[in-house]
Symmetry: C2
Subunit: 314 residues, 2 copies
Amino acid sequence: MNTLSNTLPQQVSIREVGLRDGLQSISAIMPTERKLAWLRGAYDAGQREIEVGSFVPARLLPQLADTAELVAFAKTLPGLVTSVLMPNLKGAERAIESGADLMLLPISASHAHSLANLRKTPDEVVEEIGRIRAARDASGSAMLLEVGMSTAFGCTLQGRVEPAEVLRLLQAVLDAGADRVGLADTVGYADPAMVRELFEAAFKVAGDRLACGHFHDTRGMGIANVYAALQTGVTRFDACLAGIGGCPHAPGASGNVASEDLAYMFASMGIATGIDFDKLMALRTKVAGWLEGETLHGTLWRSGLPKTMLAATA
Amino acid sequence: MNTLSNTLPQQVSIREVGLRDGLQSISAIMPTERKLAWLRGAYDAGQREIEVGSFVPARLLPQLADTAELVAFAKTLPGLVTSVLMPNLKGAERAIESGADLMLLPISASHAHSLANLRKTPDEVVEEIGRIRAARDASGSAMLLEVGMSTAFGCTLQGRVEPAEVLRLLQAVLDAGADRVGLADTVGYADPAMVRELFEAAFKVAGDRLACGHFHDTRGMGIANVYAALQTGVTRFDACLAGIGGCPHAPGASGNVASEDLAYMFASMGIATGIDFDKLMALRTKVAGWLEGETLHGTLWRSGLPKTMLAATA
């Protein structure tokens, strides 16, 4: 393929990951009632897929110890796709039990990162995916099993990550039983040309099971990378309200792309997301108040919508 | 045309506009010796086109009163293309006299903005371009006459700006004698889809005389818009060190895209800019010290280069 279509999708979805990926790197524990209010506010603003937490041992990540409670509340909201992260079979068992709609397992394409973070090689994680798939099937659950390939564009430990290795692992992950896969630039190393190239190649491996782009804005490329992925056919993106989450390797730098900036870009391009901008910005203000002292990101909160869009929202 | 080429240019140029577009909206006057040091530092970092000031009456813009002095110094730097702004024939006469290589005249595609800022309609500005071209030719100068079409993607006063009007004015500007034209999103209203569409149409009108993309990052779209323009064939972009300049309509919001972030994107994509990254970042640190109290922008200064690029820079 040596051309890109000029036709962009008419509709995309933004999975809000602020309650998990965002809060995970914030040490002050947010009370459950605030998380529930955030969840409710995101739902009211039109967000229809939300990652509410992670099934990891509470002693390792006390911030996310109330995940089951959040899932229970999320299930009361009609039409909401509730997503949870889990690092292994044990977490998957809790995820299945919780009744969430989707469980996300991260796998690192970087061997160095995989060993440092999980003490497993990527291929050992692939084996775990097989066990998780078997457990899911045995449980009779209809829960989706998504695998997010982190450090797909490079790694702070290892440096370069070979695209061929990403594609090999992608195939292995699908063979092991993942329903969906996504590519993640968890360290902000990607540029739009890399994104285009890797996603085009990944679509050839995974087809429409390639269903998520996860970009960090560490080096200012987050939005551009989303646009590049969009051009290859990606229609689902992770984002964090106020770009929270940061990057442990770059203090003060942005984490995930900001949900509100992403929602603005799509709205400006006439691509539907279902998000009510005014409500999302009001929620941002509220959450920002709860996160006083944390470095927040995003641009829209400061500049507001352009005059051309003020009448067009809602 | 319904496809975009996957082939990106191998080389692009970044015109540094911090000394004019950036400083213009900063009230504390930077002493001439610091501006000269900035100019020298930018040159040493490999920047080969620099907008050094504006020929407007000093009482209107005291910050840029030393423009002639900066041009004189810039002319001593071999291979540097010295660019100056001028608002009218009077300014053009001073620009020609200064011996700069390129004079840039802004024209606003928004009638409301044109009337409010210049008390002229865009078509009256087109007539002025004809007079400037005649004066340039009569002087025997080889100076380039470039016209930058501001508010090409929307306007804070008028709201929507019709692409058809932008294209009509572009043709009129070329007919009046401009050597080059550029499109500018001076208020940060553009999104990548708008950029792609308007630049593709503008190339049909102007061919290779369309030679500049000028994007502000007011709503976080700056880098994505550069990428979208790059895909249509634009190979020359304006940028400001540290993203200075801001936006009078959005206090604290970013102005022009940050030169260092743009240079990083191009370097990451393997597109040559001639910029020495370490030197540019050292210059940023120096200039940031001079601008204490001003809101600066950009991301690279915080996050640094990715590990994959640390060995690759020169």
